[in-house]
Amino acid sequence: MKPFLLMAILFFTIISFSQTMISGKIVDEKNNPVFNANVFIDGSYDGGTSNSDGDFSFTTTAEGNKTLVISVLSFEIKKLEIVMNKFQNKTIILKRIATELNEVLITAGTLESGGKSRVSVLKPLDILTTAGNPGDIVSAFKTLPGTQIVGESGKLFVRGGEANETQTFVDGLRVAQPYLQTTNNVPTRSTFSPLLFKGTSFSTGGYSAEYGEALSSILVMNTIDEPDLEKTDIGVMSLGASLGNTQKWKNNSLSVNTSYINLQPYQALLPDNIEWIKPYQSIGGETVFRQKLDRGLLKFYASYTAANFDLKQDDINYPDKIRTQNKNNNLYSNLSYKGGFGTNWNIFAGISFAKSQNSGIYDVYNYDSSENASHLKLKFVKPISDKIKTSFGADYFYTNFSESVTNFNTGYNSNIFAAFSETDFLFTNNLIAKVGFRFSKNYLLDESSIAPRLALGYKLAKNQQFSMAYGTFEQAPKNDYLKYSTNLQAEKAQHYILSYEFNKDKQIFKAEVYYKSYDNLVKYNTNTPVFNSNFNNNGTGFAKGLELFWRDNKNIKNLEYWISYSYIDTERNYANFPKQATPSFVADHTLSLVTKYWIQDWRSQIGATYTFSSGRPYNNPNETVFMDGKTKTYNNLSVNWAYLVSPQKILFFSVTNIAGIKNVYGYNYANTPNLAGIYESQAIVPTADRFFFVGFFWTISKDKKTNQLENL
């Protein structure tokens, strides 16, 4: 009996080790065989690899219900519940991973910087190593298509739109005052230090319904989620000094940057054409605090700048120079949370607060203005299926503006509520559509509206795609008008964009054509907007153009370069224009060539940027035709040199407009003719023909490797 029992036990043991054959074929969605797929029983050693025909087979001792796992590069992992001994010659279809590289994207109007995105046209380093803009985030974007060279302003002018038609967002929340205060024809710069930002998306039109109160363009900047290392950055510049520090803990981190700028020594050495009573001086700082939470990330960002200057400038309307004295305090802060909840839900919630104060003297007038602005946003994103993803949310903008000029007070309170919704439909792997709308209610202007948005992306081939975008966009009139009259409506624009993109192996080509129409633009009947001007919304306009972009980091060793070309045809009848005409900030042709060359033997990066634009219109009141004048062409060659002294020390030189070409941005004419009956003119020119910059940057970190090359 016992031997029998033993036999039986052994027999059953053998049975339990009996082998089952599992076989089949692995194919992709187009029925092409998938080679080298790893097919195995979860939790066991049993498995096989598919051959070049996609066929696989293996034997297993597993029994009953098990999970079959199929894993292979570039496909999503597939898990199948199978019954052993019933799985032979089955065909398994795998889904390709929707990576950026094979995904169809909507890129009409969008220019990305940073990130691993294949559509990135700028790298993080470019912000600072582009000759001609030492460290200003905004100025790097001025070398991209769609922007105008408006040297006397320093702000972004996009596709025939004024500077205020571009709205800036940090971590999704509006920045009411993104620029530092300046005066007539003295260029400004943005308040952001590139150190704290990881990626920027600049849209020249057709943007998502999530973004409102922007007529022409948006600049969306995101702060770094997690800094790489703890470090201290020290900078000594011809214009001042900067100090930064980053600390990391287990679940949170803090970065602080401060800077002090004083133009006095530079002005003493190389005076420009402005008579400075007190050269520009500013002290500022930015900070980012990040806290990782269970399923999300909480971020706090704040920036503060206090600046002042006092100067005298020629003005054609006055025999003596006009004095401008200004004190500017600019605070911006925001708190945002993004994270997941439930099954596949994503939430974004944020609030921003900005306070900007300007006070001083203009000519004989005292002025004091203050703007408090807040933006609240709540957004949800939910993939409904593999093919459909929806997002919706709401916005609230609050603005309180007040100004007093020698005891004459103006101001307003604005409240705007908006709701938005957008859905992505992936029809096939090559065709995607984004459909959405934005509802907006402006309580101050007492109007509400619905703005539709539509965008399509079509992938032509592996490296090529088309996209198009359409939408209506609106924006409340700017402070300069609203402070005098609230009997106005929002200005409106319609964008139509068609875009083609080719990218392969560190080369990007992009071509875009667009048409834009403007409606409801504000008009007034005086020289400048004043309290008794008659304002109305009868202005209209259009803009159309062609833009080309080519970037190549591949073909010439150690050289990276890009070329942007923009052609624009635009006319508007707005502001105090007597008839439809091309505004003075628009040049028909704009070209930028940016190059960066690395010389290993010198451990140096030499950069050169050449910008050209055709003449800009100006109005000569001595002529009968409005806006009939054209300036000469604009040419600027700027160079820079970054020299790595040691792994953590960098010396940086740059010269803007090295050839000292005398550029003219336009002309101001006297308001009244002189005795001979002629309106006298004054050229608007750069404050200096050349601008020199020298800086020394030192990073102190434990690893002794990191430096501030990224920040130059």
Binding site: K2, S44, L125, L229
Partner: protein, 206 residues
């Protein structure tokens, strides 16, 4: 009594057979890898991952196979996929044992592969982190030859860039080679690679 004995025997047999399976599986994977069948080797290691939840080795080797494959690949898409796969496998183990020097070296290697792929973009971003990883690994296991060699090799890259003397790093490589001779892996399948690469690197020193 007999039944109990049989039961015990069967129990032990099954234990031994499970042990044997791990060794067989790992052995098979190493054999495939040795034959240059990197995808199959990675597949085998991946299967072992699902069967042996307690050992950090299978995921370590998934990361190692895919990273070394990435070093020899030119196609950008493929490199991205390989390194992402390596990173995902490594992440699983790094969360469990963040102070395992071998895993830290592995992380440094993945970053180094990214740097090699696009030095202009990733060099500035990741080289600091790589040095930080080696410093941490060195504090944990100063006598681990892969830590000593990896750090020295990475520093040589920097020294060549700066045109500075590579002698101190070469001395470290020599030290690593002598450490390889005395290094005792904890288990038969614990990492023990690197001697050949160190010897090749030392040749370049001279």
């Amino acid at each position: 009594m007999t039944r109990i004995i049989i039961a015990i025997v069967l129990f032990i047999t099954s234990l031994v057979s499970a042990q044997g399976q791990f060794e067989q599986g790992m052995g098979k994977a190493f054999q495939l890898w040795g034959e240059g069948k990197n995808t199959e080797a990675s597949a085998m290691f991946e299967r072992i991952v699902t069967a042996e939840k307690t050992s950090w080795l299978p995921n370590y080797y998934v990361a190692l196979v895919n990273t070394t494959t990435a070093f020899g690949t030119k196609d950008a898409t493929q490199i991205d996929l390989l390194l992402t796969k390596a990173q995902n496998a490594l992440d699983v183990e790094l969360i469990k044992t963040p102070n395992n020097a071998e895993l830290l070296v592995m992380q440094a290697m993945i970053h180094t592969a990214w740097i090699a792929f696009d030095p202009m973009t990733n060099g500035q971003k990741l080289s600091g982190t790589v040095m930080e990883l080696y410093a941490k690994a060195e504090a944990i296991a100063p006598e681990n030859p892969r830590v000593v060699f990896g750090k020295a090799e990475f520093e040589i890259g920097g020294a060549k860039f700066w045109g500075t003397d590579t002698k101190p790093m070469c001395a470290q490589i020599e030290k690593a080679i002598s450490l390889f001779a005395t290094f005792k892996p904890e288990t038969p399948f614990s990492p023990k690679w690197g001697l050949e690469r160190a010897e090749a690197a030392l040749k370049n020193c001279k």
